[in-house]
Amino acid sequence: MPTSTSKYQYVACDPTKCVGCQICEYVCSQTKTGEFNTYRSRIRTVREHKILMTAVACRTCEDAPCVIACPRDALTQDKVTGIIHIDANRCDGCAWCIEACDFGAISINPATKLAEICNLCEDLEDGPQCVKWCPKEALALTTPDQRAQKARHKLVIEEVVKP
């Protein structure tokens, strides 16, 4: 059972809009590392079978299990934004955080062997670059509340207004 997210914003993907192009991964890795390398992307696309595609990044869980799991207290969660910060001096790449994450949103940097995670591009004025670049507007910076609202509105439009 996946851990629930709560009040914080995260990058969500609408699988009905995602076409699996992987452009989010190129842009993310370039933004974070200065190189295009999907192994270094903090958001990952998933293509399963012929039509299932989506992208996954950190869900900024409340009381994040990755933070709790870290035996060296390298992970901390910003109380305001929910963003997980990883202290490179403390992290030793043990991967407990990866095991704790139900979303597969944490990865180990193949060069430094330390954990890496999405920080919602908090240092950039125009926000998450994956959202900015997504050609199909499948990615959105959102909260669970906003997602629920959107679902309700969509339901009403499709089921009530349209027919």
């Binding site: 699996g20 192009c21 452009i23 190129y26 190189e35 295009f36 012929k50 039509i51 050609p135």
Partner: protein, 629 residues
Amino acid sequence: MHGYSGKILHIDLTARKTWVETKPEEWYKMYIGGVAMASRLAWENIESGCDPLSPGNVICIAGGLFAGTPVPVGGKYGMASKSPLTGFIGDSLSGSWLAVTLKRSEWDGIVIHGTSEDWVRVFVDDDRVTFHDASNLVGLNTYETEDAIRDEYGDDQIRTACIGPAGENLSRIANVSNDGRKAGRTGQGAVWGSKKLKALSIRGTKGVSVADPDALLQLSYDILQAAQGPHTQKYRILGTSSNVLNMNRLGLLPTRNYQQGTFEDAELVSGEYLHENYKAKTTACAQCPIACEQIGHVKEGPFAPAMGHIEYESLFALSSNCGVSDMEASIKAIVNCNDLGLDTMSTGVTISWAMESYEKGVFTKEDFKCEKYPEGFEARFGNGEAMVALTEMIAHRDGYMGDLLAEGTKRASARVDEERGTETYKWAMNIKGLELPGYDARALKTFSVGLAAGTRGGCHNRSAAYDPDIKGDVDRFTIDDTRGELAKSTEEYAAVYDTLPLCKFIRRCFTGKADRAGAWPAIAQLINAVTGWDFDYDAVDLIGERAHTIKKAFNIREGWTRADDYLPWRWHHEPMKEGASAGHVVTEEELEYLKDLYYEAKGWTKEGFIPKEKLIELGMDDVAEEIGV
């Protein structure tokens, strides 16, 4: 050097050894990537004059300059070898994550030599190459093969190119498959099969750096935004299969093996009908912001379950062209081809040749005996079940007919005509052995010479000469002395895209105009942002001419003569009776005149050979020495 590692990986399947070849920057400036680099590698490495299915042939894979970056539609690679279907250059292109992993493994290209004794798969893990027994993969379809390899390594970023049963069985119309996309046409799947190479997998973990990332990002972002607008609307919403009704209106939709240019049930096999009734999802190739693949899904009935992307060229070949008006049969036949590793176009046009031969009494029901239908079946036009059955028979060389059709139309008709004293060559719809695309060139006269002279045979991807015909820039029903230049300029235009490579569907998104003036300056900026070179309009334009020239040179060395630039008999002698293109043929005199014009425009001799000076002018001195006149 940015954008390239400077290294080509050579793999010898006979000796199971590898070596590294380094190339100078000048070489990359000449051949860039995609089909030009792949064809150049074929030129350098093939045993000239070899049987395409012998160890002397080579499989040459060339990366894309923009692969692994956010440059829209740049996730493509080229693959070349001597075609077992045409005997000339076989150059394919595929949108694929294989191109991206190839780039990240820091190989600019891979050349595969020799032949393995037993079925083998090769794994390129960054700079390590390992050979693995592939007997467990033999018989698996293309999707199953890719999944099996990914599961074995447990890494979803490993990408694989492979063949299905069709390639294993040396069908000359087999292709190579990767992530559901195909390196199609010209039967390169059979080359893999002849080398007992089931799959090539690549893992690339290194980052891609470019000369000017800020500029590249800005350019890419603008193109990506433009690609969501009206310039790509056709592709995004209905995909290429929207062409069915367009071609039908123009009287150009090949129907019943090119006997007609209109199909009475075109509505039922249209992109619109697919969209309304069978569309499950729209998907994209690697790093493509357009996303034109329309996934069709048959959920119930005799052809269920079947799911796959439905493109115009696959659809015409396996619907109207076989007289079939059942979309579900068409989807099933296309999915079969993709699963089994068959080229949909060649398969459809070969089946339609068999259907016409059946209707004309050349074949009987018994000729179609196979495992599933021991009594054979009535292979009439319109029989969707027969069409679907034949796709499976071809892939497995099942029965007399499966074995015959696996050879493609040219060889199949020659064999039957010899055995039975018939004249089925008159409706064997190929050029140089390659089955034709979904445009009837009897009423597209500029395109007729583009197809006839095509280096890989009758191909709409390599010659874009239908464009001035269909747009109405010229009168498509008549000829005049401008057509040679038009055929040259449109094929070299296409060759620029095929070499970078970029998908041509992006062509209007640079500036709104798809012509050279609209696209070349923007493409030059992209090239320079990746490489740090100083390409301009003229340098971009030269990419196309060089790309085409190296392929032509390859063909000349393999024995090409002017007589090889032909059109099928039917297009010379049988006008269509109905529709907007009725009453037209390309006479033999017209074609010869068009060829004269075209060779002259190319700067070649009257016999179609390339003067030494022309090759030297293009910087291809070593080629001049071998085949220049």
